[in-house]
């Protein structure tokens, strides 16, 4: 379960890093499936208090990876906490895309899916841990 969570977090980190690089390079994300990437990327909602949300995504995934790198109840809780917060904010951003901007950024959808998977994995890992720290097999 831990290995799966690390894999998903790395995938999310890749997406968030790409979007951050595109943001600072001033370009537009490659948008092969849907065609709203530039609209989303250039909207008011692409930054939070001046910080690109893509960069917040990078920090979030790094936070989850850092928590996954260690064991113990506190770290499992930390991983679940960051994933839950990320999922809640991803949910808001997905609503913004569909309900306000009327534009879908496939990269953002990909990141939201990663965050949802990560939440399931980190919460399950937290709940299934044996007393004392070890995570039961499966």
């Amino acid at each position: 379960m831990r290995a799966a969570a690390i894999g998903v977090a790395l995938a999310g980190l890749g997406i968030a890093t790409y979007l951050t690089v595109v943001h600072y390079a001033g370009g537009e994300p490659v948008c092969a499936v849907a065609h709203g990437c530039a609209t989303v990327q250039q909207s008011d909602y692409a930054s939070l208090a001046g910080v690109p949300v893509a960069l917040l995504g990078v920090l979030g995934y790094l936070g989850v990876l850092a928590a996954l790198a260690r064991d113990g109840e506190a770290w499992r809780t930390a991983a679940a906490f960051v994933s839950l917060a990320g999922l809640a904010f991803s949910g808001w951003l997905t609503y913004v895309e569909v309900g306000i901007l009327d534009a879908i950024c496939i990269w953002c959808v990909g990141s939201a899916i990663c965050m949802a998977l990560l939440t399931v994995l980190t919460v399950a890992r937290m709940l299934r841990a044996e007393p004392g720290g070890a995570v039961s097999a499966s």
């Binding site: 939070l48 906490f81 917060a85 306000i100 841990a129």
Partner: protein, 251 residues
């Protein structure tokens, strides 16, 4: 069963009971932790959402465009009867504050008295020399033109005009303007990078160069297929513009 076996069984049962109790306590503790983590995550996310939605909000503009344009035909960005004898062309930059003033002080009377009566038709050339916000605005205005809502878009844009080159012409702002103007924002913004929009900007630049336009707003008039000439009166003086148009019509 020997006494020793009974003692062993009781001991094993006690150990099992204690183990189950520890497991139950641990599960309860983890659920509390998860609840606390979820609550903290919800608070954090709610704060982020509040900042995010506030960043997307704009000062409250007028809710709708005026009824000034109601019922007046618009064809390919030309407002009024296509057969109107006089063509008044306005050279503007959507970021230019004096253009906004002219749109509010001079154009309403012209539209009400001369365009609506079929004497004058209005067209606009959206220049974009002030900066990136002008370019974006002009391109999306071209998208509004394709929907036959250019003049409503201009009116709504001027009503919300922000500080020059402050980066205020965002997609959120343009959606707001589009909504007020009855323009499909998704389509208009989607066409901002189209060849049509590029063509409109190029045409505006070419016409401004041809007419030696030195600033915005500049008004020009043309009778029928005659030559286009720059009005000599101030675009902010509605009465003087009207008088000059009357003279042109009477020539």
């Amino acid at each position: 069963m020997s006494k020793q076996a009974v003692i062993e069984r009781r001991r094993a049962a006690r150990i099992e009971s204690e183990r189950a109790e520890r497991a139950r306590a641990s599960r309860t503790k983890r659920l509390w932790r998860l609840g606390a983590a979820a609550a903290a995550a919800a608070v954090l996310a709610a704060g982020a959402v509040a900042v995010s939605s506030n960043g997307g909000a704009k000062p409250a503009p007028p809710a709708t465009t005026s009824s000034l344009l109601a019922g007046i035909p618009e064809n390919h960005g030309v407002l009024g009867d296509p057969k109107a004898p006089l063509t008044l062309t306005e050279y503007v930059d959507l970021q230019c504050p004096i253009c906004a003033r002219a749109a509010q002080s001079t154009l309403p009377a012209l539209i009400r008295d001369d365009v609506r009566s079929g004497k004058v038709k209005l067209q606009v050339r959206t220049l974009s020399f002030l900066g990136a916000d002008s370019v974006r605005a002009a391109r999306v205005a071209a998208g509004a033109e394709r929907q036959g809502r250019l003049w409503a878009f201009l009116e709504a844009f001027y009503a919300r005009q922000g500080t020059e080159n402050s980066g205020y012409v965002t997609d959120g702002f343009l959606r707001d303007v589009s909504k007020a103007a009855g323009v499909d924002a998704g389509q208009a913004i989607g066409q901002a990078d189209s060849a049509f929009a590029s063509g409109r900007l190029e045409r505006a630049d070419a016409d401004a160069t041809r007419m030696n336009v030195q600033g915005t707003p500049t008004l020009t008039v043309k009778r029928g297929n005659g030559p286009e000439r720059v009005l000599t009166t101030s675009p902010l003086d509605a009465a003087a513009v009207q008088a000059e148009l009357d003279r042109e019509a009477a020539r």
